[in-house]
Structures are given as C-alpha cells and as structure tokens.
Amino acid sequence: ERGSDGHVNIIYWQAPSILNPYLSSGTKDIESASLVIEPLGRYDPNGALVPYLAEEIPTVANGGVSEDLKSITWKIKSGLVWSDGTPVTATDAKFTADYCMHPEGGCAQLAKFEGVESVEVIDDLTVKVNFSEAKPNPYGPFMGGQSPIIQAAQFADCLGAKAPECTDANFNPIGTGPFVVDEFKTNDVISLSANPNYRDAAKPAFATVTFKGGGDATAAGRAVLETGEFDYAWNLQLAPDVLAKMAEGGKGTPIAAFGSLVERLEMNMTNPSPDLDADTRATVAAPHPFLSDINVRKALSMAIDRNLLVEIGYGQAGRPTCNLVPGPAVYASDNTDCLTQDIAGANALLDEAGWVKGADGVRAKDGVRISILYQTSTNAVRQDFQALIKQWWSEIGVETELRNLNASVFFGGDPGSPDTFQKFYADVEMYANNFDGTDPQAYLSMYRCGNEPKPSSQWQGENINRFCDPAYDALIDELGQTSDLEKRYELSKKMNDMLTKDSFTILPLVDRGRVSAHANSLGGVILNTWDSELWNIADWHRVN
C-alpha cells in the first residue's frame, strides 16, 4: 500500500545539482531526477526495452516504427496525470523535444535527439518523431533516464536561453514518477514524498525519501553497510578488500551489475613525438614508430594479467574482458584469448619480430627503442594499474614512463591544452568509455577513418587511436542500413573483434560494472546499469 513503509534514505556520494537532465548530464542528476520525471520507456536490467508512460514499445513489427526506419510513433498510456493532477498529453512530449532541441538552450541530451527532423502531435496521446534519414535505432528521444518527459505547462517560459533561469522548475519539476520534491537543496539533499497521483495506487511503498548527496564512496558504503544510517548507496568505487570488510558489517549487501563501460588501453597509431611540428604530431601523417607494428601491440596485451587487475582494482565491480563491447550479452563477442597472461609468449613474439633487447634491457629495432609514454587521468586505481602494467611490460623489455593528468584537463577537450585524451600526445593512454543505451552502433562508428582528432578539426573527433581500415568503414555503413537484429549482433561482434583481437588497437582490460549497496531491510532493489539505478524505486519496500 502506498506510503505504508515509511521512510527510505538514499545516499549518492556525488550530490545532485539540478533535477533537469536536459541541463546536466551528470549521472547523479539524471538518476535523482528519475524519481520524479519519467520517459516513455526504459531499459530493464537486461537491456530490454520496457514501456513506462507509453502503452508499448514501438517496433517495426507492431507498426510503431516505419518500414523505412524514418519515423517512430509513441502512444501514451491513457489516464495518466502529472503530480499536480493535470493530464499527460502528447503535447508534453513534443514540448520536451522542442525544449531540448532549442538552439540556444545548450541541452545536455541533444545527442538523444540527433537526426530528429520534427516531432508531431498526432492526437492527445500520440506523438510521432520523424528522422531526417533512416534510423535503425530510433529509441533516442523519450527513452531512458536521460530523456524524460517534462511538463509543458511548467517549462513553457523556460525555452532557449531562459532555461537556466527557471530555477524553480529545474529544482522542482512536476513529474509522473513515484515521488514529488518537497525540498531541493542544491548539491546537498533532496526531500521527496510519495506522488499522490502516481499511476499505480499501491505504489510507492515509501511515504518519503531522503536523497542525500556528498561525501565520498567510503562514507556512503559505511553508512549503508556498517552503521545502517542509509538504505541505499550508489556506485561504491572502493578497493575490493575495503568493500569486503565493510560488507562484514552485516547491515547491508553490496550488489553488482554490468553495463558497457570498459576500461581500456588505447594504442596510438600515430607518432606523438614532440620533435614533430604541431601539424603532424599525433596525426595520421606520421605513423607510430613502433606501435604500428602489430606484434608489439599484441605483446603488450599478452603481458597483462587482467584477472589480477580486476582483483586489485575492482573486485566485485569488475570482470576481465577482451571486448570493447562487453554487453548486452547478445552483442558481446566470445573473445577470451587475452585473459591469460603470457609473458614468455610475448617475449618470444617480440624476439621473432626482430625487437631485441639492448644492454639496458629495452627492446629495440632499427634504432627504435620500445619506450612508452603511458598516460591516464589522476585516480588511485588507475595509478595502481599503471604501476602494475609498467612492471609487466618491463618484463618483456619495454620501457614505460608513467604520466597522469588532472581529469578535468584530460577529459576537458580544450584544444589549447596538450593534455587532452583527444590530442593523445602519448603512446598509450588508459580510460574508460561506454555507450548510451544498448545499441553499440554509434560507439563502433567512432573508429571510422577520418574521424580522428586532428588540428584541422580543432582536435575534435572520436577515433582516438587514429585507427583506419577501409574494411571496417564498410562494416559501419552496412550496420547503418541494417535493422535485422541478428544481423546487427553479427556485424557488431565482427567490428569489435577487428578493433581488439585482430588488430590490438584497443586493449580492453576490465568490464567495469557498478557496485551499489542496499540495506538488508530494503527489498525490491534490482540493479540496472542500462538506465537509472532507481528505475524501479516504486517497487522498493521494507522487508523484515
């Protein structure tokens, strides 16, 4: 029964700064907003699509998606009302799209609306999204936590440049979700209570929620697992043994789930030498002196013990992987060759390829020494990885210089800074990336020839490794035209293999999952990495 279970405490060690996901792309903001505003459909823990505000998920099969893949039509459940009691209509959906697509709004989720030509209101409860070209994956708009429906009436005056000024609306959006905001303290805490107009009269079980932000992962973990002050803690990025020790506290349970986030080593196929002039340095004009040799890349991969990395850095929250696309399961290639470390094999491979050890123990060929500059962002686990990998590489005669960079610079994308991951002024770099939703098409399309960051594009571009293979580009094109799912799985796996086990351009290390924890007295928690973790909070309840 609604409200019968009293109060629940949730802690996110990153504090939500706003409840409007269109103005912020932070996970904390998207997930906290998911308590209040909802999309038409969500992904479930398996990555499958489930309708929320929509009657059903539109597909080609049920006619919701047009045959030419150029439009999708959503039908909203009838009888839905906002928490203020007014009905939810197709106009709200269209308004949501207009809101995000407004040229001056700086919408953080604009990528979701990519390729959208127009949004039409067909009738009160039907909305149609038209794409400018065929879109095999039309589930961008209104799908998932990043693209919830906002109320047109509330945000009517907040379009474009005025969006940030609507503080009241941004902090207290009217929604359809199980809870409504009572008080929002920026970057601190949100107090919520059950939505009296929620569509399921029996839910949510909790009458009130405190959503606390701030502190660090250790404190969050402690609060749930050891002291029981909180019922749910998000994303416990802790050293495995620390987490294990906390779990002994007996107040709660850590839970883990995996998505598509992969910690990887990226090989630079171009020469980052500072001796080159600015226009050729780290561009395709200058191939890398030794990493362009596949044997070297392969040996580097073989020298790594991914199991140990997981054990040390992630524990429950990670698993070793050789795939760039580790999930959903249907997309994951059965590629496990790299999981066993083989130092001897790596040495043999390099010997064979003519890289011989010099007096200093470093391999060289034709005067080129394998001396690697290995960069990543500043982060304790990453530095542990660096230290371990450096040691393994030294065992195969590779010299490594480690470098770590402030995350806000490394990921900042400032074309003026030499330290961005796009510029890649290093031989190897390590970071994690994932794709949005469950479809890897856009993700795999990043590695197209010509999509590499370069001076002429202000160092924008997603093909970080400067990988270039016409065969791969052909597969990208093919994938763009295929709507048959089986075929899509096939193509994706092939592309994944080309980047990893065939060319060793990308050395995936760890499939990073998410560890969260809930109190033993909290029931109904199902961890979901494809959408907001709080996707089913309406089902949460107390157990004894």
Partner: protein, 303 residues
Amino acid sequence: MTDTTNTEPTKPHRSQWADVWDQLKAHKGAMAGGVIFIVIVLGVFIGPWLWPYDATFIDIRARNQGPSFAHPFGTDQLGRDTLARMMAGGQTSIAVGLTAMLLALSLGSFVGITAGFFKRLDGPLMRLTDLFLALPILPLLLVMMLLFRDPLSSAVGPERGIFILIVIAIGITSWMPTARIVRGDVLALKEREFILAARSIGTSNSNMIKRHILPNVLSPIMVSATLGIANAIITESALSFLGLGFPPDFPTWGRLLNDATQYLQDYPERVFWPGLAISLTVLSVNYLGDGLRDALDPRIRGR
C-alpha cells in the same frame, strides 16, 4: 650591573654561534627535537641505500602483509614495501617542507625587511601582502597547478616539475605572516638607537640591513621557519587529499596516510607509520623552534 672596582667577569670568549649552541644544548626539548629530526632526515635520505626494496617495486604475491621480518612495516595493496615507501615519501615530504619553507621565508623576510626599512615601499608592499592574504589559497593553487604543470614538467621532468610547483604554490601562499612579523620587528628596530647610531657613523643602507637589521630579526624568522616546515608538510598532504598534489603513484607521507585511511579498519597499522612520521616531524621541528627562539634571543641568552 656595574662594579666600582672594575673587575671584569672572566668568562672565556665564545662566538655568537657557540653561544646559541650552548643555549640550545641546555634546552632539553630542543635537543630531543633536533635529534629526532636529524634521525628522520638521515633515515629517509640514507635509508633507501641500505634497504633492499625499491619504493615502486611490486611484489604482488606479498600484498597486504602485516609487519614481518622481510617487511618490518608491512606491505600495501600492491605488495610494495611500506618501509621503502615511507622513506621515499619522507624524502618528498621533507624536501617539500624544507624548500617551501625556505621559499616562504626568503620571500617573507625580503618583503618584510624592505617594507619595514624603506618607508616609501611600506604602503605598497603591505597592500601586496594584504592582497595575497585575501587571495583564497585553494583556487589559486589549483590554477597554478593547471597553468604551469606542463611547461615545468617538460622542462625539468614530470616529478620534479610538480615538486617545484607544489613548493612554489605553498611558498607563495604562506610568506605573508612572516613578512608581517618581520616588518613589525624591523619597524621597532628602526626606532632603536643603534640604528640611528649606525647611520650617524655613515653606514649605508645595504650594510645597515646586512649588519644591523638582519641579525636582529633572525629569531622571529627562525620561528617562522620551524612553523613553516610543519605547515608545508601538512599543506602538501591536504593538497594530495583534494587531488591537487602529487599524483597518486608518487608517495608522500600525506598521501600514504590518506591512502591508508581507507584501510583504517582492515589494516590499522598502515595509518600508524605515516601518522607517526608526520607528527614526529612536526613536533620535533616545533620543539627545535622553541629552543632556537630562546637561543637566538639575546635577552634570554644574555642572562
């Protein structure tokens, strides 16, 4: 004070530093502090040559070990020897402490003496000091880190680059109290008659500062110095905590302590060593400073 018969005390002659040293020797706290500090410094700088393990050597089989014969302080989560890391960390922490202190001290003394001595510069220099006092330190440090890390790293190597940067950052954000104190003392000194006397015998400004001002403000400067070392070590550790200091793979006491705090429950002994090292250093330097102040103050020494 005076004798009618003009008999002279028959103490043998000693130099000024011998006097200071005598006084210091008599100060038990200062001696204990000094000895401990020297032991720490020697241990940290000479120890690594005697100790077989390297601070970065990973022995993954030996991770998370408690104290043992092979690893007297235990090992960390990657199996690195804690003793070796303590020594490496100590080198950085003490080097940061000493150099940052020296920098702050020379800046502070320079500004203080100049402002106190040259009346015309007093106003501008004190406004400058106010300005620096008013500049919030944290953003300033951040910006400095971001701005200058790379030019420096490429010029002198990454670790030395960041070392220089941290030292400068701590140095230029902590010279102001010294400057104020020194200025106050110089202003008071200027009122003393011996300065006027020196002027009347034709002492030039530079000689005046060298012979008359500097030796007489040495004692507050020395006290600032000992406080400065402690302050720099602590600031460095706070910077590390906020992610602005040395990178995580670079051990300093502050970082070791911070890393070990995570394992407070599993391996409580891990926080003990860096905590002890920091406290001991700060304490010993502080006691040394107390003694030095007494020893350098001619009023006390003269008794």
